[in-house]
Amino acid sequence: MPKCNMVSAINLALKEEMARDKDIIVMGEDVGKNGGVFRITEGLIEEFGPDRVIDTPLSESGIVGAGIGMAVYGLKPIVEIQFMGFIYPAIDQIFSHAGRIRNRTRGRFTCPIVIRTPYGAGIKAPDQHSESTEALFCHMPGLKVVVPSSPYNAKGLLISSIRDNDPVVFLESTRLYRLFKEEVPEGEYTIPLEKAQVAKEGKDVTVISWGSMLHKTFEAVEDIDAEVIDLMTLTPLDEETIYKSVKKTGRVVIVHEAPKTCGFGAEVSASISESTMLYLKAPIIRVTGYDVVMPLPKLEDYYMPTQGRIKKAVEEVMKY
């Protein structure tokens, strides 16, 4: 079994799926000859040709809008937005159309597009390159939002996203792209969407996270009997796995990179309060990025939740 980082795992998923289904088209800025600015699509144009790996004009709304037009007529476009901070011009297409077509046409047309974009801080990138605004997409009905946390689940979740019949926003942490390698099988395997994973079992506290923050969480709870949940799909949310864990531990810490206000942690926290409040032994604490414009690299380490902040939050809920 080859060892892959997240870049090569996603590349492998794309390669295998494109070989399986000729209706899959990869499209975006620099995805062809250049293989993508993070090299995610490297080698695809050589293998599948420029009809299936399309270097587009610099045109976020146009790329997603065209992807929607392809998807409704039976192709499976996987479009790349180069950085999450550049997705905003395409939000009109994603919100006004991708997530609504099935409903507006009562199922006559559907929109099975995958919109891949790197997100998050930690690679010393310029302004607008380190955004983590997944909550925007989680709020819009009709979309699925998927955030892998490792090479293994990136491949399995991407294959599931490609085969899904609904539009999927697939967020890839830039910090995780080359952070570590793990064994990633060649050939088909899928990880179901809409399912969270208990990444580590424990009984004292439930720590809920996704994407890059999961790794800081693991480091922070090394000495604690914590249960760590990797949400993997944010919407639709797997509430069952969360509540089961909360009923066991009675204590919850939620960790995410995005700003706190209206971050997805608020949704998770509110859902837990509504459904399992009587099992709680302590208030739910969120450890998040701050309510500030994402800083440039010199301050990004201060912005992101640290191991220390997560540890402190866990200690806090353990006091009750």
């Binding site: 004009p57 045109s59 709304s61 809008g65 065209a66 409903n103 507006r104 009562r106």
Partner: protein, 351 residues
């Protein structure tokens, strides 16, 4: 080094049928007597549909409605050259296009009455639902064009939009991509002179909207949008080129919206009566009638017959739309995702 001209272009205006109903035979598309009658009948039918929609709105039987009055030639003329396999991406003011393509009329009333089941396109048609945000349907047509090209299908795609749509980013992004990849898309701009209250001159400093095509590397033409022969010819030619792989075209139909923007609008706030009066003699139906009358294929009894037939069709559509069983509250959940989520199932339980 002397300066030199590196690019130049001319924008043509095509007009075949004048306001007196006289056609330029040298430009006339090949149309039989029955083709011409069909054009006329569809324009009348669309107008009767439109008039009824306005009165249904006033009676509170449908919601806000966007009238097509005055734009029948642009809509019917363009849609008549479409084939069922072609793919159409309308804006919200294309009732004449839907009717011409054979979209069930009662479903249009159903939609405007607030029931989205009216936008479930029949399986044998390829017309997208009304697009309320302005211009955002243009990239969809472009993507459909990419799909057509990828599959090497002999079909064309059209996107409909108004003069306001040409000011949006998606107009630029869509036409730009279509030009780069030479896609089989015909962009049909119904320049009806205003986007709600804002006049055409405030949308763009370009002398014509058609000329914008040249900056994207393809052909553009302005046609008299109240002249059904000119619209039909320009769109037919463009669709043939598209299906043959000769790339996109932008067609500016120079027309006029006689009605208010929608039933929620009062156009007297921003335009004078005289302007509207000046456009009335250019009426597309009246103009074709003059032509047909001169050719001896229009008579008063024919006119009466067509009007009665149209009213019957419209009456039936209204009564069918009003007899459809009401939506159930749970229906709002059914098509958000392919499968209901657990949370939706819980929420449905609250109804």
């Amino acid at each position: 080094m002397p300066e030199k001209v590196v690019e130049s272009f001319n924008v043509k205006h095509l007009s075949i049928l004048d306001e007196k109903g006289v056609a330029d035979e040298s430009l006339m598309p090949s149309l039989s007597e029955s083709d011409i009658k069909r054009m006329y009948e569809l324009m009348v039918l669309s107008r009767v549909f439109d008039e009824r929609a306005l009165s249904l709105q006033r009676e509170g039987r449908i919601g806000t409605y966007a009238s097509i009055l005055g734009q029948e030639a642009s809509q019917i003329g363009s849609a008549l050259s479409l084939q069922k396999s072609d793919r159409v991406f309308p804006s919200f003011r294309e009732m004449g296009v839907y009717i011409t393509m054979g979209y069930p009329m009662h479903m249009l009333y159903q939609y405007w009455s607030g029931d989205e089941r009216g936008m479930k396109c029949p399986a044998d048609l390829n017309i997208f639902p009304l697009c309320i945000p302005v211009g955002t349907q243009i990239p969809h047509a472009v993507g459909a064009g990419m799909a057509v090209k990828y599959r090497k299908e002999k079909v064309a795609v059209t996107a409909y939009f108004g003069d306001g749509g040409t000011s949006t980013g998606d107009f630029h992004e869509g036409l730009n991509i279509a030009g780069v990849f030479r896609l089989p898309v015909v962009f049909i701009c119904q320049n009806n002179q205003r986007a709600i209250s804002v006049p055409r001159e405030t949308q763009s400093a370009s002398k014509t909207l058609a000329q914008k095509a040249y900056s994207y590397g393809f052909h553009g033409i302005q046609v008299d949008g109240n002249d059904i022969f000119a619209v039909y010819k320009a769109v037919s030619d463009a669709l043939i080129r598209a299906r043959q792989g000769d790339g996109p075209t932008l067609i500016e139909c120079f027309t006029y919206r006689i009605s208010d923007h929608t039933t929620a609008d009062d156009a007297s706030r921003y335009r004078g009566k005289q302007e509207v009066e000046e456009w009335k003699p250019k009426d597309p139906i009246f103009r074709l009638r003059l032509f047909m009358s001169a050719k001896g294929i229009w008579t008063e009894s024919y006119e009466k017959e067509i009007e009665e037939k149209s009213k019957e069709v419209v009456d039936k559509a209204v009564s069918v739309s009003e007899s459809i069983s009401p939506q159930l509250p749970k229906d709002m959940f059914l098509y958000t995702y392919e499968k209901l989520t657990q949370r939706q199932i819980n929420e449905m339980g609250e109804l």
